[in-house]
Symmetry: C6
Subunit: 71 residues, 6 copies
């Protein structure tokens, strides 16, 4: 997670970045092979339905971070 | 995010606009190539299932914004 | 959004109607062409999976409205 | 919605029933033709993925009802 | 629902079990035929996408139960 | 669940680990056959849409854990 292991960020902008990071870490934990992840990146980056789903995951992570920070 | 890096908006209407903006920024971060995004726009704007999914993402972002603003 | 730009409604029933309206406005913003939206309406109104997804979006919008109104 | 237009129920059990009812009313509003809804019922009642999605909608509606009732 | 019609459980573990139970009861209400449900069980228990979706429903039900219990 | 049957963790990092664990336990409860689960693991670990959905489930479980811990 964060270097300092916390959900607290200085700004909402950094909170968004943390939400993206948390989303990616779950994928990394489920598929640890970097080459496999890179192959899939080309797929989801050009698939509108998957891009929308990624937006959904980040929105969910961000709602948790926003609540923790009382933005 | 916002010019002033905040989730606080003057009205619910502006909160909706911010929710749409946040949703788009995630897609932009995942697919930085503007031409690729434009190609996909034609697809999802004419696909009812994807349009519904976009509504889901915006609804989730908006719930976070609404909580931050005590609408 | 609402004529008076607010999430506050007199009754839960009106809150449901607002949730439906918010869901539709996002689709309208993403696909501004009315003819295109009408063509898609015939599709999703007869597709059970899409109807269920619409229910999901409205449920999410309504949870935000319900929280704002302390129903 | 309810005869008395409220999210408040006497028991969690009745709250579950209300969540199911709210989910159905959205589908009814989107597809007002009863014959069309009945045809789709045979489809989603025998499709495990759709049944799971229905469970998701009801779970979301119920979370709103549970919050309103302080169960 | 529960024998005693409540969301309150003694432990988070029992709360998880209740979340699973609530998820199943919705499917049972939508498809009351036990033979049909058993046929579908073989399908979703061997379909990774459906198993993930089941996890999503249970997670949503559990969030409601956790809030009710102040875990 | 946890050895000590609680949602409380020392750090957000451990909360993330618990969210992953809860997600897996639901799949295990629905498909108890370990060989079947291992076969499916190869599928979802190489399917970008499923990996994104797993991220969604973990994000939802984590939001519950974060609320319980007041991160």
């Amino acid at each position: 997670m964060e270097p300092n292991n916390t959900l607290i960020t200085d700004t909402p902008e950094e909170g968004r970045a943390l939400a993206v990071k948390l989303s990616r870490l779950i994928i990394k934990a489920t598929q640890p092979d970097e080459a496999a992840r890179n192959r899939m990146r080309d797929i989801y980056a050009n698939d509108p339905a998957m891009l929308i789903s990624i937006g959904q995951v980040v929105a969910t992570e961000f709602s948790t971070i926003a609540a923790a920070n009382n933005y």
